[in-house]
Point group: C2
Chain length 666, copies 2
């Protein structure tokens, strides 16, 4: 049980562990040589199923080199509820001890080591206990004993029981990358102001409760959309690119310790209907994290199979497949290199009883009582601005979802997809209710490419969708029993700081003179986007700009950029590509894209030169809540708390293993 290693070596490792890099990490969540996953300080919903992995690390070289790279494979572990005696995991969970696993991985200790190509090699011994759960609320301590008396402990908290359903339905809107700053800018674009008073408002402005949630990852303070979505859906933070698992150090992308997600819980406990809608390809992080269990979000094909069929490599709780699945990303459905095992996933879904829609007309006609798949294009859906203001840009694309060399025509937007999803889910969920996640994905995608107009256009589409959703729920008579939450998964450091006179900027030759076109403070003036112009009508309704291309445009920017050029005016020919490589200078060395914003001025970047786009930011993101349980969404909290709040409202915290009961009527 205790290895015979000498104390000197053990102390050396202990002291080294405190100086290990904060940026480059051997394994996030594991600063010592003994790792418990889930690690210290994690929370659980009572009855939520999960896996537990232990790893013992033996670095072979580098600053932490230990025991000649031989990991202790006789480690032991215990678990104890507060006040009770520790038990072995096998005893506590009444499972048999798993087999020992071994592997090797490597990492760089800092940028100097990376430049010098001197990785540190780590040998690992590990065991994983699969599909366990903690049913009693309270505090638990897990202890890993290794290397002659070294210990790592993890304290876990099981949240209070919550067995009563307080909302029949939950609709969770995610504006990917959406911040309060962007909401403010979108309001200014679309809503007219007279003497400092808006004449109309965003739907978000009408939500009675606002909270702020912290979006950071478990092991880095800037998140990506995979692990933040996972935190929102499971109450467990993870590592960049991971979803539905705590990332371990093994090479297998699918063996990491899993946690049960909101739709798995909801299917198991209440048998409710559930669905996902996204303007991204549907295998993208935010929609796929509802069902995905992997440390790599990039396994698009396999993850679509997980969404339809659940996990097949391990015994695991079943979500039953979505009742609604609408978005882009035909690449993972058409038989070929993008799909799992080259199979035809349109056919796989159809075999399981799904209607399959490839355009807006088919979507509208699809049965509300059958499960519904709608895949409307390859890749992401074209953004609202191109679909509504510059439709000529759509014809340039070869994104037809049926695989034809043609552009996808007859595209639905977020609103059409969401309203149809509500019809199907309300019909199929019936008394058991439903959960819908609806994502405005290109707020994030277009902020990445500094295409502020396209990002804000999609934010306005989200707001318009939320507005239409409230009306729809009213007309179905289910508004009062439906919790609506609108939030984001992370931010981008965007803000508007003034206006720019496009006419003046275009007339200047010199970059410094062009900058004089920017007006700040009182010279920011008033928005011209809401001023009707003779001859311009987009027919996009009262909650969108009347003019996307005024002389005085909003001037906004990011806290960090690739090299690029700024002119602030709308890009009429399609989404921006701000930075590009230059022939002969390497494929990861990005400079100003010579073709982008030729009338603007050059801004050198502040990001690593291998970043072609803007990046995510730290800021807390807003949470807007309306409906049953709205009162628990005020104040400031962690992104995992969004899960616990929704799960509590849905009565998903049980002290017994409620499995496939499916009797959860309203």
């Amino acid at each position: 049980m205790v290895s015979t290693l000498g104390l000197v070596a053990a102390c050396l490792a202990a002291s080294l562990s405190t100086v290990s890099g904060q940026t480059f990490q051997r394994l996030g969540t594991c600063p010592t040589l003994g790792c418990i996953l889930p690690p210290d300080q994690q929370d659980f919903l009572p009855g939520q199923q999960f896996d537990i992995r232990f790893e013992v690390h033996a670095p072979k070289n580098g600053s932490e080199a230990f025991n000649n790279g031989v990991p202790d494979d006789k480690f032991t572990a215990t678990i104890a509820k507060e006040g009770a005696q520790p038990k072995s995991l096998a005893d506590f969970f009444k499972v048999s001890d798993p087999a020992l696993e071994k592997w090797t991985f490597s990492w760089y200790e800092d940028l100097f080591a990376q430049d010098a190509k001197t990785p540190s090699i780590v040998n690992v011994a590990s065991k994983i206990y699969r599909r366990v759960a903690l049913y009693e609320p309270g505090t638990y301590t897990v202890t890993l004993n290794y290397y002659s008396g070294k210990t790592t402990t993890a304290t876990w908290t099981v949240r209070p029981l919550a067995t009563k359903k307080k909302a029949k339905n939950v609709i969770f809107f995610i504006g990917d990358g959406m911040t309060t700053n962007m909401i403010t800018a979108a309001r200014l674009l679309a809503h007219k102001m007279v003497n400092g008073r808006y004449q109309s408002l965003l739907q978000l402005d009408k939500f009675p409760v606002i909270g702020h949630q912290m979006s950071h990852s478990i092991d880095s303070f800037i998140t990506d959309s995979a692990n933040s979505a996972s935190a929102l859906y499971s109450g467990h933070k993870s590592t960049v690119n991971a979803m539905g698992v705590y990332a371990d150090s093994s090479p297998d992308l699918y063996d990491d310790p899993k946690v049960e997600t909101i739709v798995e819980l909801l299917s198991r406990i209440w048998g409710s209907a559930w669905g996902a809608v996204s303007t991204a390809f549907i295998a993208d992080a935010t929609p796929i994290a509802l069902t995905a269990h992997t440390r790599s979000r990039y396994q698009y094909g396999p993850l679509i199979d997980q969404a339809l069929n659940g996990l097949t490599n391990y015994t695991w709780t079943q979500h039953g497949g979505p009742d609604v699945y609408f978005g882009g990303g035909a690449e993972q459905f058409l038989p070929g290199s993008g799909s799992y095992k080259g199979k035809d996933y349109f056919a796989e879904f159809a075999k399981k009883g799904y209607s399959v829609s490839l355009n807006k007309t088919a979507l509208a006609a699809a049965s509300n009582s059958e499960r519904a798949l709608g895949i409307f294009c390859k890749s992401n859906l074209p953004v609202w601005l191109d679909r509504n203001i510059f439709p000529e840009n759509l014809a340039k694309l070869t994104n037809d979802p049926s695989g034809k060399n043609a552009s996808a025509a007859d595209l639905p937007g977020l609103k059409e997809m969401t309203l149809k999803a509500i019809d199907v889910l309300n019909t199929r969920g019936g008394k058991k209710g439903f959960f819908l996640m609806s994502e405005a994905a290109s707020i994030d995608k277009q902020m990445h490419t500094l295409d502020y107009d396209r990002a804000l256009g999609d934010l306005l589409e989200l707001d318009d969708t939320v507005r239409a959703t409230v009306e729809k729920l009213k007309s179905l008579g289910i508004l009062d029993e439906t919790l609506i939450v609108v939030s984001a998964d992370h931010g981008h450091g965007f803000d508007v700081f003034g206006s720019a006179d496009t006419k003046y900027m275009a007339a200047q030759e010199d970059d410094r003179k062009k900058r004089q076109a920017v007006g700040v403070y009182q010279m920011s003036g008033l928005s011209q986007y809401t001023v009707a112009q003779p001859g311009i009508s987009y027919n996009t309704g009262p909650n969108f700009p009347l003019n996307w291309d005024p002389r005085y445009v909003l001037a906004g920017g990011m806290g960090a950029n690739p090299d690029h050029r700024e002119a602030y005016c709308v890009e009429k020919t399609g989404p921006r590509t701000p930075a590009a490589t230059i022939a002969g200078r390497g494929s990861s060395d990005f400079y100003v894209n010579a073709k982008d914003k030729p009338k603007g001025f050059v801004v050198n970047g502040t990001l690593p030169v291998d970043e072609a786009q803007g990046v995510h930011s730290l800021t807390d993101v807003p949470v807007f809540a309306m409906g049953p349980c709205q009162e628990i969404f005020g104040g400031t909290y962690n992104n995992i708390d969004v899960f616990y709040k929704i799960a509590t409202c849905l009565g998903l915290g049980h002290g017994t293993n409620k499995t496939d009961c499916g009797k959860g009527g309203w």
Copy 2:
């Protein structure tokens, strides 16, 4: 009453008015040639005193040239409550008609006109009705008739009566320029995280209610701190640089139509005590706007006189002078060029019964029952970071408040000033309660100079002050009867986007290679600011960083910048000056300051080259509320609504002219 001008000219003006610039404006709030101030769409507290100005414009040249530049001086005006007959203003308010005024002003129609130095000249005829009030809640229409039947109308709303005091005291903290993004960054600096869970939190994180307020000006979407403070204190938006007035076009900086502020209302109606605390010079916009009525915030000397003696040029409601006035800015108190009429304002305050403190020791010893002035330095208070971490920087200053050529020693911080203010105000307010505004001014000032560490240090000082305030109120037994509101007046487009390896950056020669030191997403890693380092102890307590100068620093940035250099590490030698002029290139042409951040990389600016600093941004700013009435601060609203919420909670909306009643016990 109706001029004899021909229809052709009238129509021309009507059509031109719709194409006038949105950025360059003849007069904000007045797109037509007839102006009503307060303009259309303004709100009033019942009984709130204000002035009404009418202006008729006759542009002599430019795109709006009209009537050979002769303004209609026979204009008339009426006011009508909804459903009632219009009356002349003299009849309605039972005042005599004021004298006609005339003046001329000029403006530029756009940047081309400014470059060409071709101003448009406007002749004006005007009248102003002073010190009126509307007592009945409801809608009022004011109509200005001019130029042969042309009309301008303004619809005003008088808010509901609110005569009951629900909070005895209100403490209103303003983090100048503070955004949710900055709060998130400050939390990461000072509070330790283990596996995605903070081990301690900001005091702001513990507030139960969050709202978002829109900060825009009345006539531009980016505000400055003068008119946003004015909106927060009076419920009336104004123009950049204006406070306590609607900006008119006259050359006189003190004749603009006024509105009554929160402290004027509170003094008049309840006779409560009031005070202001700021880390800025006390004549700066945010503290001075409590009492200032001017269209130019830069009249520092006269505004200190207004703060002590009230208005002397017009009959106006009296605030009685502050009970507490703590901050910097000895220039306006020492006799000389900075003070009003060269007088000694330390003596002027003392004459009126104020204790005068010039350092922290004197502040602590000052009587709690006397009115208290505390001016601790010239200019702004040195920031928290220099006072606590790099005190050697203080010795370089010649900011002694007594006028000696020495550095101010024994400086209080925001916390010491605020806690003392509470002692004095609670003693003096007694049963009548008190209102305190406490401002963390240098969040804004240091964000302007891109000195993120100093800005966030002052944000942490604000949070620490709020924490201490809650404890103080508890110990005084008045926590339950005190509303605490923490908000901001506007934002800066700041966000953190990753980390930077200072060691690696310093070791690189080339700017593009230096950028590789930035780590984004998973490479942002974990904060090192909360990791204790042997030999480093600042004694600043648990809610501040343990290390301000780690190897891996936070990397943050703004949406717009002057030319500057970035290295992201803390500046140890004092506040930053990111941009500077170059000999021979003019005093308003700013380039990278060669002395700033020499190990960093150059970032060319995105702002006009005459801006030496960053600028304010658009974003909605957060409102945190705790105490009586907290429930009305949720959701999204205009900055003026912060005033109406506080005024409602304090019972300041009366249907009669309550003057100096002073009987408002709790």
